[in-house]
Amino acid sequence: MDDLYLDNIDEFVNDQNKIVTYKWLSLTLGVHVNTAKQMLYHYLQQKRNESSGTPLHATYLVSGKCVENGSTCHKVSVVREDKLDAVKAKMDVTISVHVYSVQRAELKDSSPLYNTDYEAVKENLKNCNKYSAIRCAAAVPMSSAGLQRAQEMALVPPEEKEISKPGLNENTSATSKSSAKQPAGIMGMFASKNASKSQESSKEVKTEQKDDSSLVETSKSKTASKANPMSNFFGKSAQKKADEKPNKSIKEETDGSSTATAIMKQSQTSPKSKIDIKDEQSKVSSALKVESKDTRKLKMKKNKEIGSPSGQIVPDSPPVPNVQTPSPKKQVKREPVSHQEEISEVKRRKRRRVLKSHTFVDEEGSFVTEKGYVSESYSENEEVPEPNSQAKDSSSLKQSFGKREEEKKVKSQKKTSTANKHTKQPSITGFFQKK
């Protein structure tokens, strides 16, 4: 019975090719961490004595006192088996050594170790320290009120968080030490290459788009709110800094600029979803795409951080292709304009949501009909709403689209109203009659 755990570990390691860390083992088998460490040790001994079958690799946790840069410090590191003796020799006093993990694979870096523990802890979140050897009486879960307060506090000092992170990453692992010098050499090449490339690409992006201002604006606001990506959701204050930039086109939009950037941020959370700038749609993808949204924005900012191996949270997903960014920005530009017009018009005007279809001829000479839910303003006389501004907008839009973007559901509020000059009440059968 006592030796059953050896079979368990054997199954995890050899059959399932898992990484068995002591923490994972203790949570899986429901034993104290120290017991888990012993189990791993015995398993290793047994397998090594057998000297048959597949090779096993192990990592160890070494903790002790050593002198670094003239000061004594207590160092705790996870080291690979082949580096174990070297690290132990470096320490003045070795306080503890124990098996950290056992696996078949020869790990190139420590990321899978973290990944394994992450899953185990996540599953047992409520009682993840049930078997822990570290105890703190003051560590109790927060009440929901306390949690809310903590969330509000978290938004305020985002920069301090970033600065403290490099300190945490000092947790040295012997595996990464050897490659530390190599990055400096190879990474240096990329830093200069990246800087010049990013400048080129930024120029391209600017000439492609008509409203450079909005791009520059977002990039400035990104710089301001670079520290905590999450604050972009809430931080209108960060965006207002960008508004002070002395640029003609920005001045034109200063009225609606704060709303524009806010809406732009939300629309960039789901740049592909054209129906919306609705929160509901962005929430659908927000959980997973918080990082992706931030990655796109930070990429557009032409990050020079690639050159520095800081180990910070750096985005890694592909940037939104330039062709697509004009569309959400164009939509957004129209929205603040429409809000203003709405306010300044005759009081009897109201807005209602109407299903409109708009037929027009595209470049290839074929008719394209577009349907969309449209917010249309109407007065009690049912006059044609705002015809002049629409004509201008639709022509500028067509020029910039150029592709078959019409097929995707672009919310062209103004465009659709132009077509419906003649129908007072749109109906579903309406589009059948159009030719």
Partner: protein, 235 residues
């Protein structure tokens, strides 16, 4: 009204009806809802980018010095910092994305080839999307994140089940599509100067291959299977 026209109208009608329900109940969105297809494609392409970088790191296709630890799905992953390599991978996935949106991509394969351009390993991501996507669960995305994390973990330890590759390997990405989806791709050059060509037989099929399954994942929005075809004799 032309036939093409009718098709588009029906498409939109379908979407509009489905999206009404979507706004109020968030119950079932159909494949025709381009929004949802795009969300799934986004998630999948981001994942594939991370996976490709990780495969290049773990299989030593490029020296470890160009890789840097970054965070994805709340765990550290190794991503390359080489601008040309990154651009190549991004362009590749940018072209693949429209195929995934329409559920036309059957497999995405990362082929590792030796110096003579003979494949030695093929990491095959078989993708399928259920026709009726339901996003009723609030924890769906975090569940998907968890599954993707597990695949990342499996890629990290795959060197236990694979033989070492010979030095000087290169890689390429192949996409197997359903039916004749690529006919449209040739007409529309999605990215300028980044053409796709039909793959050689040599790259597509490997003689004397071993099949090593790595991970299968099933979720409401996506089904993915990852396995490796490995050449028995690599040198």
């Amino acid at each position: 009204v032309s036939v093409l026209e009718m098709g588009r109208i029906v498409n939109f009608l379908y979407v509009f009806v489905a999206s009404i329900f979507g706004y109020f109940t968030m119950a079932t969105l159909t494949r025709q809802d381009l929004n949802f297809g795009q969300v799934v494609a986004d998630i999948l392409c981001e994942f594939l980018e991370v996976a490709i970088h990780l495969i290049l790191y773990v299989r030593d296709v490029y020296p470890s010095g160009i890789f840097q630890k970054r965070k994805k799905y709340n765990v550290p992953v190794q991503m390359s910092c080489h601008p040309d390599l990154n651009q190549y991978i991004q362009d590749t996935l940018h072209c693949v994305k429209p195929l995934i949106e329409k559920n036309e991509a059957e497999k995405v394969v990362v082929v590792i080839m030796d110096k003579e351009h003979r494949p030695v390993e093929r990491f095959v991501f078989e993708i399928s999307q259920p026709p009726l996507l339901s996003i009723s669960s609030e924890t769906l995305l975090s569940h998907v994140e968890q599954l993707l994390r597990a695949i990342i973990l499996k890629i990290s330890v795959c060197d236990a089940v694979l033989d070492n590759n010979p030095p000087g390997c290169t890689f390429t990405v192949l996409v197997h599509t359903r039916e004749a989806a690529t006919r449209n791709m040739e007409k529309v050059q999605v990215i300028k100067d980044f053409p796709w060509i039909v793959a050689d037989e040599q790259e597509v099929h490997m003689e004397e291959a071993k099949l090593i399954p790595l991970k299968t994942m099933t979720s409401d929005i996506l089904k993915m299977q990852l396995y490796v075809e490995e050449k028995t004799q690599k040198t």
